[in-house]
């Protein structure tokens, strides 16, 4: 017995080395940088709506339009007349599109610029008086706008395509829209439905859900990939939609949105929100984001708590890991992929990848 205990300890030492998480504990600690926030409390507690890049310059929509100058963010100057707030931004080529509001939160419409100084109204008739621009989307070098409108006491979402002008809605939906393009087809998701179209005029229903709804769709690896409010990942392959079983934590389904892919890993934001369908009301169990390794499969992504890789990058868990994400996007800066995450009420964060390793989440500051 006396010999057995030390021998057992030694055996444990060399045999029970488990593997957990994409980031090593020591590697994670060693890569930390001190968080010294020198910005304003307003920026620190903001809820970013979007981060886009134009000609190597970063812009963020955080109540108004911000522009990154070096390592800090500055409010953009020389905005259109009366522009006080911004709701969304998108970039195609070298053109930045921003939806502005005046000081009374009345929509001023969508403006574009190629030099940050000269702003041009894209369509002076857009949006209609009873609509507010909620989203600008850039897909396949085309600009789309999503507006909301009150109809019979309910919110109706309208999707517009900018083709000279915004014209009439090309789709209406019950939730915010999300678009993906896989040549030659556009995939449009809103609520329980994904539509497809090749001309943005004629749409056909591609996939519908019951007791779940799509939150985002994007093109990953040449395949349209959508995520849902009740934890499923869908992708279109060989003529049909394939889906995972719902990703769960503690037997509760995750709310998924804003998927981005890098280096065979799918990053998907997840929030602790209350979701409702006709028959289900449930609170998503965790906030932050999850990572899924490619290739996706129907069985592989049916993961239990232990194998579900939750956000483990540096500082994330201790900082924004417990709060909801308002946005998650991947932008390549100077050749280096950088994840930008906007948190609900906890500011803007970034995590840069250098030489194949994520350096860790850092708070962005003004």
């Amino acid at each position: 017995m006396k010999r057995f205990i030390p021998a057992l300890l030694i055996l444990i030492a060399f045999a029970v080395s488990c593997d957990n998480g994409p980031v090593g504990i020591f590697a994670s600690i060693g890569s930390e940088s001190p968080i010294e926030y020198k910005g304003t409390e307003v920026f620190k507690k903001s809820t970013p709506a979007a981060v886009v890049s134009r000609n190597g310059t970063l812009y963020a929509v955080i109540t108004t339009l911000w522009k990154k100058n070096g390592n800090t963010w500055e409010k953009a100057t020389n905005l259109p007349s009366q522009a006080m707030y911004a709701t969304s931004a998108a970039v195609t080529g070298t053109t930045l599109y921003v939806a502005f509001l005046d000081s009374n939160a009345h929509s001023l419409g969508v403006f574009s610029t190629t030099d940050d100084s000269n702003w041009t109204p894209v369509d002076i008739t857009f949006p209609a008086n009873d609509e507010q621009v909620q989203q600008l989307l850039a897909v396949n070098n085309k600009v789309f706008a999503v507006t909301t409108k009150a109809v019979d006491g309910k919110t109706q979402y309208n999707l517009y395509h900018l083709s000279g002008s915004f014209g009439s809605p090309i789709r209406t939906g019950t939730n915010l829209f999300s678009l993906a393009y896989v040549d030659p087809t556009y995939y449009v998701a809103s609520g329980t439905t994904i539509w497809t179209s090749t001309d943005l005029a004629n749409f056909s229903v591609s996939r519908t859900l019951a007791d779940d709804f799509f939150t985002s769709i994007t093109s990953i690896g040449g395949k349209p990939t959508a995520v849902t409010a009740f934890g499923k990942v869908f992708w279109y392959d060989a003529g049909s939609w394939i889906d995972t079983n719902a990703l769960t934590k503690s037997s509760k389904k995750l709310y998924l949105h804003a998927p981005v892919e890098y280096n065979n890993t799918l990053f998907v934001a997840t929030n602790t929100v209350v979701r409702k369908t006709s028959s289900v009301t449930e609170v998503s169990p965790i906030a932050g984001y999850i990572e899924l390794a490619f290739p996706l499969s129907t069985t592989k992504t049916q993961r239990d708590d232990n194998s579900l890789v939750t956000a483990t990058n540096t500082v994330f868990s201790a900082t924004i890991g417990g709060t909801a994400l308002s946005m998650l996007t991947l932008i390549t800066e100077n050749g280096k992929p950088t994840l930008y995450a906007g948190s609900v009420g906890n500011g803007l964060w970034s995590n840069r990848n250098e030489n194949g390793s994520w350096l860790g989440w850092q708070r962005e500051t003004d």
Binding site: L9, S17, V23, G24, G30, A318
Partner: protein
């Protein structure tokens, strides 16, 4: 609350050991009288003696060796609060063998909580410098770690020495200085690091 807990542990160790030392004081006098009378060279330890240590102290992260780059990453850890329990038995008057379990409570520079719990076997060789003693030790075992929501178990080796003073046969006060090395392995070898930690720990050791 945490400071209070630290203070409470240290006070418990110190007060408990002082009380026990006071209780044993007459015996110490008797033993010394007897020793003076009949045994000119007094050996502090004998085969079968047992040392039970209650310890508290701190540890410093020295750095994380990155085998991929061949360089050290900064430790980025604030000094820890550390508690340690060890139980050792003298196999000979000099060789001591036992086990240890410890808890290291670190904070990173950004206040993430890093918990480290080594559990292992310890062997040492005691140099008797009555009433002082020095025991160079080597420990080997498994270190259970937790950082935020990440967990891992890795082997560790700890080398160091215990510097002690025995005011009585039953109680010793010791200072531990140890270098702990923890190689951490992952299936993604780019995440492999070897952590180095320096312990400075004081103990009240019960000798029976």
């Amino acid at each position: 609350m945490r400071r209070f807990f630290v203070l409470l542990v240290i006070l418990s160790i110190v007060c408990g050991s002082v009380l026990l030392a006071q209780e044993q004081a007459p015996e110490q006098g008797t033993a010394q009288s007897d020793a003076t009378a009949s045994i000119p060279v007094f050996s502090q330890f004998e085969k079968g003696d047992i040392l039970f240590s209650l310890s508290a102290g701190t540890a410093f992260g020295l750095g994380f060796f990155n085998p991929t780059t061949g360089s050290f990453d900064p430790a980025n850890l604030k000094p820890s609060f550390t508690i340690l329990l060890s139980l050792q038995r003298f196999m000979t008057p000099n060789i001591v063998l036992g086990g240890e379990i410890a808890g290291y409570f670190f904070s990173t520079i950004n206040d993430r909580q890093f918990f480290l719990a080594p559990l292992g076997a310890r062997i040492g060789y005691a140099f008797d410098l009555n009433p002082f003693f020095i025991i160079p030790t080597v420990s080997l075992g498994a270190a259970i770690m937790r950082l935020s929501d990440m967990g891992h178990i890795d082997p560790y080796i700890k080398t160091g020495a215990v510097f002690g003073w025995s005011p009585s046969q039953e109680i010793c006060y010791t200072i531990h200085a140890d270098l702990m090395t923890i190689p951490q392995f992952y299936s993604d070898s780019s995440q492999n690091r070897t952590g180095l930690f320096l312990d400075l720990i004081i103990s009240a050791t019960y000798h029976f």
